[in-house]
Subunit: 274 residues, 2 copies
């Protein structure tokens, strides 16, 4: 199973929109996908059409109450399962403050889950896990990065969004060195791209040259790519969540659907380090 | 002194852009303003032209190390001071986890500051304090709400941004009931407004009717308004931070400058409850 955390501490850059539409695009391509919502806002849960609070267990119960992942997993469409969020996740820093190894809990649950770590007899093993992260680098995002092999970084091509990039790369390095040696930055995807604005093309160029440059690079992100696909700004992407639908169900002919299908194809063909 | 926390746990809705441009607009109108950056990303600090880490003390030192507010305050232009952020703020939840009354620390620092609580002989007392909050409802935003009289809520007219409104109102109620009885929601300002999209006018209408309706309202937000001024989406607003300038210095003829000048006039004329 490939596991991908969709992370960026900068708020409103397209993490949730990317997590849900990528997960659904991979599921439509025949991959079995588990979407985990680690943001207390529960926006990925909503966007995927699962009513927050409508199932007895959530990601909170998996992290804090010791329930297995499978117990909180909800079917949300063909080839797609969701581990819903819950508002209680916002208290997870305090709830786990005194627990040693608190950043490794999600990894342990995933390692213990038969569909994530299949044996030859496992029915319907997962091909992908996609984890939506909140806009911070706290315990929830740390749990995600400790548990996965790859990080996908949605980036709005704006100055403030670019500013936080070095902090995120530093965090990926620290997690790779101390907690999860497998962790790699898979790549950066430019979201809400407004072609024709100088800002988008300048920031886009800055990011490309940063990763292409020959300066000192850390193995955890040194071979990361900037995806060819740029997700263009498209109001349909902002409308779809209110119907609990992915862009493919809501507006299949839109730019948004085309862009996320193209991104999924790139992600599916890539594997960290290739 | 009027004190305003600019808060919304949803990421990327315009909190920092509103904090900085509102603070500068009020300063240009002759008000003495103190802008406090409580977001570890330090984007308000950057946007206001102060290099994070270039001053010996920051908001972290005020909250955790016991320094007085005045010691961390930096002059940033006519009538404008900034209390800069620092990346260490991201560890404040852990640093203060065991300290009782940890949500009241900022309030105590403000109450002890002569320019915030002037006597007749105080030189250059502050007329306004504007606090930029991070995209969460954790200890930093709690400190801000415990310390101020008013909350300003920037809202992007999108479904996911609207979804979190009830959680924010609930938090304001709880703070007003248990920590700060003076706290009131001053109002909601629609940001990144894309006139002509159905989504913007629908969400705009939803928010207006929510506050105008005669249903049960809590005194902490019952008389909140939706500001007449809508801050239109305008790429100049996203360019200005890379120059460390407000919109008034960077693009004084832009829609962004007109909208934030109009918002400042509305804020200045309003007082919570009027
Ligand atoms: N390409 C796009 N075009 C137009 N709107 C978009 C696009 N991508 C996302 N949006 C909208 O922009 C807003 C921010 O996106 P989203 O919520 O996915 O970001 P996020 O990084 O998950 O935010 P947070 O930091 O709060 O978790 C949402 O209202 C979403 O519907
Ligand atoms: N009216 C606008 N038009 C165009 N771009 C805008 C506008 N307001 C803000 N922006 C840009 O949108 C992005 C998000 O805005 P901003 O950073 O102010 O939001 P925020 O709520 O402070 O985000 P965070 O949750 O990360 O603190 C920034 O890149 C900013 O420059
Ligand atoms: Mg999100
Ligand atoms: Mg901000």
């Amino acid at each position: 199973m490939r596991s991908i955390a969709v992370a960026n501490q900068k708020g409103g850059v397209g993490k949730t929109t990317t997590s849900v539409n990528l997960a659904v695009a991979l599921a439509r391509a025949g991959r079995r996908v588990c979407l985990v919502d680690l943001d207390p806002q529960a926006h990925a849960t909503l966007h995927a059409g699962v009513l927050p609070g409508s199932h007895p267990l959530s990601a909170f119960d998996v992290l804090v109450e010791g329930h297995p992942l499978a117990a909180a997993t909800v079917a949300a469409g063909d080839n797609l399962c969701v581990v819903p969020s819950h508002i209680d996740l916002s208290a997870v820093e305090m709830a786990l403050a005194a627990r040693s190894g608190r950043e490794l809990i999600l990894r342990q649950r995933i390692e213990a889950d038969p569909r994530c770590n299949p044996t030859p007899t496992t029915r319907e093993p997962f091909d992908y896990m996609v984890i939506d992260c909140p806009p911070s680098l706290g315990l929830l995002s740390l749990n995600a990065m400790a548990a996965v092999d790859e990080v996908l970084l949605p980036l709005q091509p704006h100055f403030l969004a670019l500013h936080g990039l070095s902090k995120l790369l530093e965090t990926i390095e620290l997690v790779a060195e101390h907690v999860n040696p497998r962790l790699r930055l898979l790549g950066v995807v430019l979201c809400m791209y407004e072609a024709g604005t100088r800002l988008a093309s300048e920031v886009g160029r800055d990011v490309q040259s940063f990763f292409a440059s020959s300066g000192a690079k850390h193995p955890a992100w040194g071979s990361a790519r900037v995806f060819e696909t740029r997700v263009r700004r498209n109001i349909r992407l902002a409308e779809a969540p209110s119907f609990g639908q992915s862009i493919f169900d809501y507006a299949p002919e839109s730019h948004g659907a085309a862009d996320y299908a193209a991104l999924a194809a790139e992600v599916d063909q890539a594997a960290a380090g290739l």
